[in-house]
Symmetry: C2
Subunit: 227 residues, 2 copies
Amino acid sequence: VIETRGLIKIYRMGPTEVRALDGVDLDVRRGEYLSIMGPSGSGKSTLMNMLGCLDSPTEGSYRLDGVEVSGLTDAELAAVRNRKIGFVFQTFNLLPRYTAQVNVELPLLYSGASRAERRRRAHEALQTVGLGDRTDHRPNELSGGQRQRVALARALVNDPAILLADEPTGNLDTRVGQEILRLFDELHAQGRTVVVVTHDPEVAARAERVVRVVDGRIVEDGPGARF
Amino acid sequence: VIETRGLIKIYRMGPTEVRALDGVDLDVRRGEYLSIMGPSGSGKSTLMNMLGCLDSPTEGSYRLDGVEVSGLTDAELAAVRNRKIGFVFQTFNLLPRYTAQVNVELPLLYSGASRAERRRRAHEALQTVGLGDRTDHRPNELSGGQRQRVALARALVNDPAILLADEPTGNLDTRVGQEILRLFDELHAQGRTVVVVTHDPEVAARAERVVRVVDGRIVEDGPGARF
Ligand SMILES: Nc1ncnc2c1ncn2[C@@H]1O[C@H](COP(=O)(O)OP(=O)(O)OP(=O)(O)O)[C@@H](O)[C@H]1O
Ligand SMILES: Nc1ncnc2c1ncn2[C@@H]1O[C@H](COP(=O)(O)OP(=O)(O)OP(=O)(O)O)[C@@H](O)[C@H]1O
Ligand SMILES: [Mg+2]
Ligand SMILES: [Mg+2]
């Protein structure tokens, strides 16, 4: 479902150049559960932004469901993001002036669901991540791990075929982290494609396949449980 | 050096009440290395904000270096925070429009250091956390783990006697995380008081003592290595 060829991302800062991605070829099959590991600053979030159609590469190609993403209009990209992809950002990206409930309802505005349906589905998503009693809190009235889980609930509320989660358990204790990993197992069992960036080898071990990114390149690609 | 008695923090939201801290008694000796663990939402960051003089309790007392903090003026609190305490926020709290270098120089503005001295000390702090080649990047030009390390460098640049770090390794790979833990060991060996909130039992095990917070109370208090 995901095919990248020669993805390059270069940031230019005055005279210097940062090659955040330096030629990435990555194939992900439909329904695969993939984990991405690698040192801080190695390019994982940059790669996730490409996969999530949030940013475009300097060079290279990305085909999603057989369609070359660079050929899509902005409106088409927005539609793809909204309907096919659930994205959990490393820094959550919640809207600070809205409650958890409203933050999670937002992706449903384009889904054609009624107002009552949106309320119900968002509330359910928040309950799934253990925040049923925090729906009326705004982000600054939530703990770090609670904000992280609101970001996850928002990514799941539209029932996406592809879940892209950038370090989704970093702010969670072991018990809650395990609940989230069981949730990922369940989503995977339902046939969804799951891609998780993590620094935690125990989280990576839950995937069927782990790739390792170093200096903007994939240097290792193998089965999950060996970590 | 830190003594809290009966710390209570209540957030009122309309008719409901959230007891984020529900009677915390915590003594930390000068030069102690303490780790704080506990479930997501249990009150750890709220407690750290009290200890860091960033917020005041609803009830209870907090003596820092023998002085009752609730009796200090805002100006005195700011001086205490600037000179005695280095605080690493769970969500970093960097100024988005300034580079890493400038973000780290900020606490030195009140220290009486010359401009060249501030530049040198901030650059050194960034090198210590492995970001010597990222000093001119702004926060949105940095990875998640790099932002986390800028927040750490900023907390250390003023040479504080007390380091309060709220989940300082959550966005770091194992290797960089270990470097940061070695840095904490070194700071501790220099006689500083180090308090680290973490969800990672391996990070907690580096401390000499671990307390566990559940539902706004301390429920366990023991030696570090048993985790
Ligand atoms: N806008 C930008 N301008 C310049 N450099 C950038 C920009 N965004 C990211 N970088 C650099 O690109 C590299 C890759 O960043 P990325 O966020 O993908 O890393 P990462 O693997 O997700 O790291 P972490 O594990 O710390 O989250 C980093 O070294 C970072 O400094
Ligand atoms: N301004 C606020 N208004 C209402 N409730 C709040 C507010 N700030 C925090 N809370 C609640 O207080 C509780 C404690 O929050 P705190 O941030 O201290 O948790 P934590 O232990 O740091 O969690 P985590 O491990 O997820 O970071 C949480 O349940 C949170 O929802
Ligand atoms: Mg990242
Ligand atoms: Mg916290």
